[in-house]
Amino acid sequence: MSQRIQICGTSFLLPGNPAWSALGQGWEPVFAGFDEWPRLLLDPVPPVDPPAALAWVLFLEDLLPAAALAPALALKDPGQRRQALAELLAPLLLPLDARLANHPQTPVIVAYSLPAVGSAIESGRGLPAWEHARQALEELLRARVDQHPGLLLLPLDRQLARLGLDQAFDDRNLYAARCRLSQAGLRVLAGCLGQLLERQKTAAKKVLVLDCDNTLWGGVVGEVGLAGLALGQDGLGKAFQDFQRAAQDLGRTGILLAIVSKNNEEDVWEVFDQHAGMVLTRDDLVAFKVNWRDKASNLLELAADLDLGADSFVFWDDNPLEREVVKARASQVTVVDPPADVTRWPRLLRDLPLFGRFETTTEDAKKKAQYQARAQFKAEQGRVVDETGFLRSIALKPSLVPIGQGSVARAAQLCAKTNQFNLRVIRHTQADILALADEPGAVAFLGHLADRFGDHGNVALVLARPTADPEVAFLDSFMLSCRVLGRHFEAWMLARAVAQLRERGASWLIAEFIPQKRNQVAQDFLAGHGLMPWDQAPAPARERLAPLCQGLGGQIHLAELASLTIPYLEIYDETQAD
């Protein structure tokens, strides 16, 4: 079933135009009438059936004639000028402010555009008038982004510039139908809104898997040898090199890089280690499969090695045949179909929305080391017999991180990205999490873990909230990043949550497992950690708690907190820390 996005704008946006199909499957645009945007934004009454998101398309020219800017722009002092512009623009954002205050639960996208007017000459010595207005508007909007987790911005002109502003705007449409954009421009707007909506719904991809021959370098190393490769020289050689740079830059933002290549392994490493034109190094890679097996099996194995879902993988290979095999046999993997012209690859990779994230947290930058450590942990774990002794020997250091402005981005990121060890897979937004954490009696924290294999960062999240019965809490969310699985950190997190809930007066806990596509790993967690499946709980407990469980459709478990015995905690005995 498709989700609705409500769309309003200061210009007409041609409802029903085929360009709106660029929103993507699963999104149905619902348009406010022309000039209805102030009423819509200011309406304090919550809609009976709220849309999944609201987009406000702001063409500043519609609200502010150039003449209105003149007095502010005449001010010579930059500080005074900025202040005057802010005072001029802030009232235009009042309807938006009202919307954000009245309906914080519905995400809002503000797409904004300022006219690109004037010749090149006007920018020759100073900033043209509208550029000052752009800076002031962006400053005001960015300040609101910091205050409202549900607010997203779309600087439309930058995206329309890809098409060419002369192609994106159409004055004929303006005078014939009060629509500033051309059909092609409208399609860019719809496509960008679609990208933002999609990223709110599904997590960004985590892993870029690259082929080697004719992908990282030109030529087949096994045939032409090191000296025969196109890599680094002018022409295609530079394009391959820039493609590697683009991949390496993605790696720096936390995207994991891997290679899957049909090759002799020593040939590939010879290029990595000895070719002067190589940009990527072995250390940039989190994993690799270089062999003669089919690439679909290699990709699925790679996913298992890294404890990541194959649906977080993106595969880039020059060979259409290999791509088709992967599409058919590892259909969870997203396969890029790059153009034959390699000179277009570097930009294409840099701009790929698949990896785009709203924010890059400090956790992201540490990703590669964490996954490399995970691989090492698995290797050592495989060699030992006494699990408890092994885990006690690796110096586990758990700690709690309260939910606050500084940590809520990571909490929301965990909600968005954790598909496997996640009891209910509720995709809370930052606003949801902050609201939940503020409820009296709620328990909300992140778990941080470090050990001999590295600092894993904030890798777990607990959100528990009170029910109508103040002695009974509900475990709203419980999740753990798969890269720390095998350390029983989930037991430690549950124990901390139980301790905090008891301090806040709770004596019972209701927990729920909702089976999803990929969270089977969490299925036995509750019963395995002392909670009673609903049908095994004593009748009086069920009688008391049944009204509080109404509406829960998953597998319900109950625990009386005073008598809950959680296993595995001895691993953390010496390191208990809050």
């Binding site: 041609l14 409802p15 029903g16 135009n17 085929p18 004929r172 005078y175 014939a176 059909q183 092609a184």
Partner: protein
């Protein structure tokens, strides 16, 4: 091969029922083909055949026959 104007009508208004041979087929022939639907239709015709109507043409072209005649004058068969 370029689509016919009636193909574009079906693309834009998939739920509409109309007679492609009706010489008076135009704005108002069915509920979805209102003035906004017509503007969207003209934009789709422009994009499909790579041409642009003037503001005057947008006001004057009201039926499929008129649009077809306009395109024919540009050497476009639709």
């Amino acid at each position: 091969m370029k689509p016919k104007l009636t193909d574009l009508l079906r693309q834009l208004f998939p739920a509409a029922v109309f007679d492609g041979q009706d010489p008076t087929l135009g704005v108002g022939s069915f509920a979805e083909w209102d003035s906004l639907g017509h503007f969207n239709f003209l934009l789709l015709v422009e994009e499909t055949f790579g041409l642009q109507f003037s503001v005057d043409e947008i006001t004057e072209l009201k039926t499929l026959a008129q649009i077809r005649e306009n395109l024919a004058a540009r050497g476009v068969e639709a």
